[in-house]
Amino acid sequence: MKQLLEGSQAVAEAARLCRPQVVAAYPITPQTHIIERLAQHVADGELTAEFINAESEFGAASIVLGAVATGVRAFTATASQGLLLMTEVLYNIAGLRLPVVMVCANRAVGAPINIFSDHQDSMSVRDAGWIQLYVESNQEAVDTLIQAYRIAEVCDLPVMVCMDGFLLTHTFEPVDLPTQAMVDNFLPSFCFSRTLDPDHPMTLGGASEPDNYQEYRSAQQTAMEDAMPVIEALDAEFNDQFGRAHGGLLRAYRLEKAETVLLGIGSLMGAVHDVVDKLRDQGQAVGALRLRCFRPFPAQALVQQLRGARRIIVLEKAISIGAGGIVAAELRAALHQAGIMTPVASVIGGLGGRDLTPEVIEAVFQETMFQETNVGEVGAAFQFAPEQIPLNPPFSKGEARKKGEARNEGTADG
């Protein structure tokens, strides 16, 4: 039965239904409601789990690492700087091949400090070895979290469920929460093959020398590649049992005979779909493709979906500063490898909570200029020119240097 739930509440209920035995977190906006709700469930006896309010995100990540190593299911959630503070532990969790699941309530990264949504936080840890699934709606957040535990435990890989902060976490919308029996049926109890056990001592996280370190890294890469069919199969199995599917790796929308494809990630795709409908009504051959699974990067699936496109616009809410759009660069590489030279435009927008309205998305579609020469182009166009924000007072490097020198010599006045 559908209920109108706040996104944080919905995803916390989904976490409860997955029966984690350890929940550890450190509060950070916009993730806090998720953990507050779970803490309440533990206090009310509705969830049998140890709730640990960690001293930092580094601590929270370390706690769930340890918990899963002892063979129990665990949950944590964070965002932004919190995720970055976890970074070292994220790499360790992945390298130790621990099936940890977390929610990232996607938020911009400072400076300047900004609590609003974009994808810079999770994109910045894309190389840590975590599966990353980005959701479009709160229903998908619920369903994906349940899938995530299955995926993690089948693949021995950690999974990050990425949901847009505020845009999803703080929005009330209709959600169908499955019953405990349905979730139990889909998600069997966790039986970890490498559980730490004092009766059978073994080492977890030992050192590795040059003669075998590379093999561990190579095994991680193979496991990631092997995760792709698992993600697809489990989304299909989920559909059989719950009557909802979310596209597995990719979700195509009106791609049939689409000449232009708008490709993006997360909750902005709702507005993109509305724009596609409008443009299709006007006779434009346009479709949309949502990248649900960003890690592992589904290069072959993307090539298959985009083979017929004549131009591709990638809408990105994150940037690799100094290089440009992250998804566009990887997409160009995938297409290039398949011998496809379709121009790919990278448009950066929606940073730090700036609203990507249907009007803006339509303008991006109408105004993005394509030239055959921009195949393989490095860099990105900002939908919103950064020079619109003046630095006040105007920053003069020469003057600043003079002042600095004066300070160093102790001759500065005032």
Binding site: K2, E6, S137, F172, E173
Partner: protein, 198 residues
Amino acid sequence: MKSNEICFHEIRFHGRGGQGAVSAAALLALAAFEDGFESQAFPKFGSERRGAPVEAYVRISSAPIRAHNQVYAPDAVVIQDASLLRTEPVLQGLKPNGLILLNADEKPVQASSGFRWVSLPASQIGERHIGRPLPNTVLLGALAAGTGWVKLVALEQAIGNHLAGKGEAIVKANIEAVREGYQFVAQLVAQQRVEVAS
């Protein structure tokens, strides 16, 4: 944007931190959902402080709502604190002939034309029922009467469910408040002192 739909309404709430604008938006969306509509409610994203201007938004639709954008052209605005008229762009983007529901004894002297103004002393009514000058459920009743977008019974149900954790007395007081807000505006409508929204 959704001209081919039978029903699509956007409502913006303006209040001050502590007046319950975010809760009011949630209650309205819950009531619309009770009535069988698709609905969505969300606050203007930011840091909340008591007394600071707060905005919250609601969408009510007969079709699933996919977009997660802010509301820029509301069909109605609910103003929980009249002092916001002086400092906040509370009428920005309001559609022509849009409804303005104002918590005040009467319409402001310099009221913008082209909109439908409805004023009611919602804080006083709220205080009488709830014991504190809380205008939000009174204004929800008023909105239901002024627009017909949600039914009074759905609002009562939403209040019963959403505020259940706060105890029976609070639920009862808020149901009385929403009813009086409804009756206040229903009377104005009956006297043809406010047009009913189409």
